[in-house]
Assembly symmetry: C2
Homo-oligomer: 423 residues x 2
């Protein structure tokens, strides 16, 4: 079955807003066995939206739109689709009272205009919006006059704001799709996430070994981001769980050390989860990453139990004041050196009393590089109570933000490997 996503919004085409729906919805759908066939963005323009929806209904069994359900004058998706499908809009009292209480709870006066969101095309299934006012809507287009064969299709209309759309998809839309558009065979999917090994190396090591399983129907996909490679194993049918398990065993036999997690797990979730489980704490000492390492760690709910704190020591002076790095070490080896990385980590451990401390010192660029230490050079340090300090040198000759992200991932991976060893 073809599935098409239509994201609406002039601001998306003007580039004022990043379109995150494609990735988020695409992944959620793929992991449940429904792969997006195509995605289209059109402006808030009745003719463009209508044409895109009609074309999609002519190809797909499921069409999902996002945006255009709100109360303002450029929110035209609901009315346009009601008109296109000849489904008169009717007021839904339960939505109206949800909207009224939404404003009441926030002590805000309710403009009358917002009640347009309680208008529902006749026969539509309503997905209540727990985090906003516009409900999601599902309409079965049957007969589907836009499709050559007249084959019925489902049209799902979802709200635009991610914090309204995401819980609605997880709690309501995906179960709805599962019920009304069941797969012929159960779909299975597992993603192994690796760090510190290149895509082509991974492919070369694994393709030959996994070929027999692929011949039996296993789908193997690689996806590379800076410094990371996801290995996706998927397929349908009763034999698939065994094939996926066999493939995972083969992959782990080859590169288990590099695999930090599975499915949606992030490296920070894995590390924080592990620390929570063992009751250990972590401190950080950041120079060139400027706080990004602490940010990633504290993005994980519950991190406050394990995050002892951090020192952002951009200058040599602050490295001395906050972390006790020796002036002579800085003078002799420079701020971007193994010795300073180790002293930074040791200082963070001592100040915070944490069980582990990570340190980062490098040259993010665009300036500050030398022939010996070009832009992109970074030293990572790790100290743990009762263990010898560790330091590794990495080289990320990318733009400033990519450099920071790659560095943070590697620092977390360095700690994960130590936790795994000692666990």
């Amino acid at each position: 079955m073809e599935i098409e996503l239509i994201t609406t919004g002039t601001e998306l085409l003007l580039g004022r807003v990043l379109n995150t729906h494609q990735q988020w919805l695409g992944q959620r759908l793929a992991d449940s066995g429904h792969t997006l066939s195509r995605q289209v963005t059109v402006p808030d323009n009745g003719q463009a939206i209508r044409e895109a929806v009609q074309t999609a209904l002519g190809r797909a069994g499921l069409v999902i739109t996002t945006g255009g359900l709100g109360p303002t004058s450029d929110d035209i998706t609901r009315g346009m689709i009601a008109d296109m499908l000849a489904r008169p809009l009717c007021r839904d009292d339960s939505i109206a009272s949800h909207i009224e209480s939404f404003f009441e709870r926030r002590n805000r006066p309710m403009p009358e205009s917002v009640l347009v969101q309680a208008q529902v095309p006749k026969g539509a299934v309503v997905f209540p919006n727990e985090h906003g006012t516009a409900p999601g809507l599902a309409i079965e287009v049957s007969p589907n006059t836009f499709h050559e064969s007249g084959k019925p299709a489902w049209l799902l209309m979802l709200p635009g704001p991610p914090r309204e759309l995401r819980p609605m998809v997880d709690d309501q839309a995906l179960p709805f799709i599962k019920k009304h558009l069941p797969l012929e065979q159960a779909f299975h999917c597992r993603t192994l996430r690796s760090l510190g090994i290149g895509e082509s190396t991974v492919e070369e090591m694994l393709l030959g070994q996994l070929k027999p399983l692929m011949d039996r129907g296993l789908d193997l996909g690689f996806c590379a981001r800076t410094g990371q490679v996801d290995i996706r194993l998927s397929g349908s049918g009763p034999e698939m769980p065994a094939l996926i398990a066999e493939a995972e065993a083969t992959i782990r036999a080859a590169i288990d050390k590099q695999i930090y997690g599975t499915d949606d797990e992030t490296i920070e979730q894995v590390v924080v989860g592990r620390l929570i489980a063992t009751g250990e704490t972590l401190a950080v000492a950041e120079s060139c990453t400027g706080g990004l390492l602490g940010h990633h760690i504290t993005n994980v709910p519950g991190a406050s139990a394990i995050f002892a704190g951090g020192m952002l020591t951009y200058s040599n002076e602050m490295k001395q004041i906050l972390l006790g790095v020796n002036e002579s070490t800085l003078a002799q080896h420079g701020a971007v050196s193994k010795e300073v990385a180790v002293e930074m980590a040791e200082g963070a451990l001592a100040v915070s009393g944490a069980d582990h401390a990570l340190s980062v010192t490098g040259i993010a660029g665009p300036d500050g590089g030398t022939a010996d230490k070009p832009v992109g050079t970074v030293w990572l340090g790790l100290t743990s109570k009762g263990s010898r300090p560790l330091a590794i040198r990495k080289f990320h000759p990318y733009d400033r933000e990519t450099f920071k992200h790659a560095t943070v991932h590697q620092a977390l991976e360095m700690l994960r490997r130590r936790l795994q060893k000692t666990g």
Copy 2:
């Protein structure tokens, strides 16, 4: 003229990669007067790409594709388009030697297969790739047999990786578009960026006053993100610079205090730039934002000149050790309080010797809220040498990451307003 963007890549539809091209290219094009009419994502599948390109050529005067130009087996865009347009592929020796030297400079062996990237459809204009191996290609489709009227169209093929695509667009593709697809009238655009005022409030305050200018052709657009509203003024023709200037004066008369920057400026760029100009320094003391404030500041190249450093004090203990917050203040008022925010900022100023210090203490959630201080409550503090400390309370009842971002923007805005006053 219609402009369509076709992003290719199965990994985009599986949601393994975030599609940033739509936003980045959309904004670059819009700011030069070329608004994207539509964007489509298709998988790495010859039939899907061919169909999407043909359909786009049937509507648009400019069609841009991204991705599929690399050396691996799923990079099929180049060959497919050459075939579709009946333009035989010929080897371009200058590209071939660029690719060879690209590998040489990196001391990496060159697989023979990468030379496929030196194959160019006959008559195509080549955009050399400064940051990778696959060049961009421009082909004039003339006569355009896919369009009813046969009107010629330009087809631009750009590489997928953002760090290859972006400089190629700025240095080569945009000047090329300007030359070959000139606008009938000069296009002008200016964006005013505001913080701390809601979209509907901005609209209400400004729409009436700007109506006469809009009647004379000024295009006015609002774009809201969490806590921020961009106001975009644009239009074509000789009168437009004067209309835009008049509109800006009107807007500034109404909400000048809330406008932190123009066009692409970010709040962190404005604040860091201002500090660099005055030679002042900044320290941060972060609790709930966990390093995100430091990360934003250090994303600005040159920030090392003004960033004195930071303390990530998640726990009460670290607030005392690193910042000298009094135990009695914590006991009496709690960690999320005006008094602690002020003592954190004062501590950061004292430890770092900086000219300004920002502090953040709040409840990011999902747990930790109380009736008195619900999840989303945050206190921001600011201390500057020779000024009285300042603290403000904010409430961002959002998810954890949105909370952190909104908080960081407001902290930076708090400092910007102080710098403006004293400047």
